[in-house]
Amino acid sequence: MKALLFNRNFAIGLLLTAVFVAGALISFVWTPYDTSGVDIANKLKKPLSDGYLLGTDHFGRDILSMIMVGARTSIAVAFVAVGIGIVIGVPLGLAAAASKGSLMDEIIMRSNDLVFAFPSLVIAILITAIFGPSALNAIIAIGIFNVPVFARLTRGAALSLWQRDYILSARVAGKGPARISFEHILPNVTNLLIVQGTIQFSLGILAEAGLSYVGLGAQPPIPSWGRMLAESQTMISFAPHMALLPGLAIVFTVLGLNLMGDGLRDVFDPRIRREKR
């Protein structure tokens, strides 16, 4: 843990991520202004004017408050989507590794290949378009693509672990493949899963923003960064702050998560640490 905090990438990343997570959490109890109402008298205020730190949008809603509430949507969608990927993908990967070369392994890996063949956003667009646009369908669409990512990663790492002597001793001791997978393999792939999890988290935030931007993500009145950008597009020439600020929120959150991922990988993987990259 100490090594982690001394890692520059991780520390910067953690700070950036913490700011947005904190913003999202605070927004549950307090936001500078109410985001549900319309206040036309105060529309399109520039940042740092009349008590609006980041200005207001075309309905007079405070942009800082909108970004805070929007962070909730982004983080929730990406978080649950990563959760889906781990909960389904990891057991599949463990099962595939435990039964290497069997029909089950083949089927799992083939269906993974197939999901990879669909560009992730195309899956997302297909699902949200068919079942209707909503935050829930965005989660499912992004989550499905996370499944093969985690399944492949887990299988690859587990395969090399199965060759180890301590696994052999566990087998000699009479443990079955399922028990070995969960008691001995899983704890040893957790580090990898955490690193991949942060990366998928940041990809999820980008995907959610893209989906909301084209109107297939969270629906009004739930604020989301992608839709704020979509709404700002026609006003970009006279209210550029409306387009700039939610975009910066996305960039900083994604950057923070990626830096955290890099830092975690450096610290978890001694091979890279020794080389100092």
Binding site: F118, P119, V214, L229, S232, A243
Partner: protein, 314 residues
């Protein structure tokens, strides 16, 4: 080699069959009947039935699948429910924008990533390296549609160098390429960042190989070693990523086409979705997936040609 190609070809065909079934099944579960959607709320039951028959919706699902799939084989994508025109024509028209856009973006991203990656790897640890890596970190964090909006603000609205959107057609190729430039840059940015990172780390790996030291020891200059030995061997992981990126480019283009109002495949899909023109959605998505599977197949074969060791595995 032939056996390897045949086995890859076999799995290619299998993936295509499964993909087509998945796409067809997903779209078929959509609530809402296209015929009643087209005729509106007040349509008579027998009018709807007649239209269903005309659109071929009255036959069982599996028959419709077979009809669609065998049509695809012959290049017949079916007929649009809304426009009553052959989908292959609609696709061909849109492909003239989407395909050049994807190629343009891929070219740009390669042209940016190769020098950047090589520069960073050969001057590892220097300010150049740190700068390039910092920029790539930023490049993957920026949503490309947001970057596109900012470019519109700067280059179209303020500087007036480019138009903010739309497509003038290929009558004047220069104008057409100009209209695709901002979208292509927006698409290329994240891809170039990823590619530059892969290029750098692949090159760092090969530069520490024994054969590079041998090459230097026998008197080759740094530059000669880099071009003749290190770079060639670093290309394998780079090729994989370029293959994978193709799928991201196709998907990214869907959103970017919406930013710039380009009448490409992406906009076609969106229109078709809102008009419940399911057969168009099925066919376009199938085409995108087909393109991705085909590109990955080509990359696999390219590997086997470059590196005989890879022919045995899988």
């Amino acid at each position: 080699m032939l056996r390897y190609i045949l086995s890859r070809l076999q799995s290619l065909v299998l993936s295509l069959i499964v993909a087509s079934i998945v796409i067809f099944a997903t779209v078929e579960v959509v609530p809402g009947d296209p015929a009643s959607f087209m005729l509106g709320m007040n349509a008579q039951a027998d009018t709807i039935a007649a239209l269903r028959e005309q659109l071929g919706l009255d036959v069982p699902v599996w028959q419709r699948y077979l009809h669609w799939a065998t049509g695809l084989l012959g290049g017949d994508f079916g007929t649009s429910y809304t426009y009553r025109t052959p989908i292959s024509e609609m696709i061909a028209e849109r492909l003239w924008i989407s395909l050049p856009l994807a190629i343009y973006a891929l070219t740009l991203s390669t042209l940016i990533a190769f020098p950047a990656g090589i520069l960073a790897a050969t001057r590892r640890g220097s300010a150049t390296d740190v700068g390039v890596m910092g920029l790539t970190q930023l490049g993957v964090a920026i949503p490309n549609f947001w970057f596109a909006m900012l470019m519109v603000l700067v280059f179209a609205i303020n500087l007036r160098w480019f138009s903010a959107g739309g497509f003038p057609g290929w009558d004047n190729p220069l104008l057409a390429i100009k209209a695709l430039t901002l979208p292509a840059i927006a698409l290329a940015l994240p891809q170039a960042s990823i590619l530059a990172r892969v290029m750098r780390s692949a090159l760092l790996d090969t530069l520490s190989e024994d054969y590079v030291r041998t090459a230097r020891a026998k008197g080759l200059t740094r530059r000669q070693t880099l071009w003749r030995h290190a770079l060639r061997n670093a290309l394998i992981p780079v090729l994989t990523i370029i293959g994978l990126q193709f799928s991201f480019l196709m998907a990214g283009a869907i959103i970017i086409e919406n930013v710039f109002f380009l009448p490409g495949l992406g906009r076609l899909v969106f229109q078709a979705i809102s008009q419940r023109d399911l057969i168009v959605v099925e066919s376009v998505v199938m085409l995108l997936v087909f393109a991705v599977i085909l590109v990955n197949f080509a990359v696999d074969i390219a590997y086997a040609i470059v590196d005989p060791r890879l022919r045995g595995t899988r």
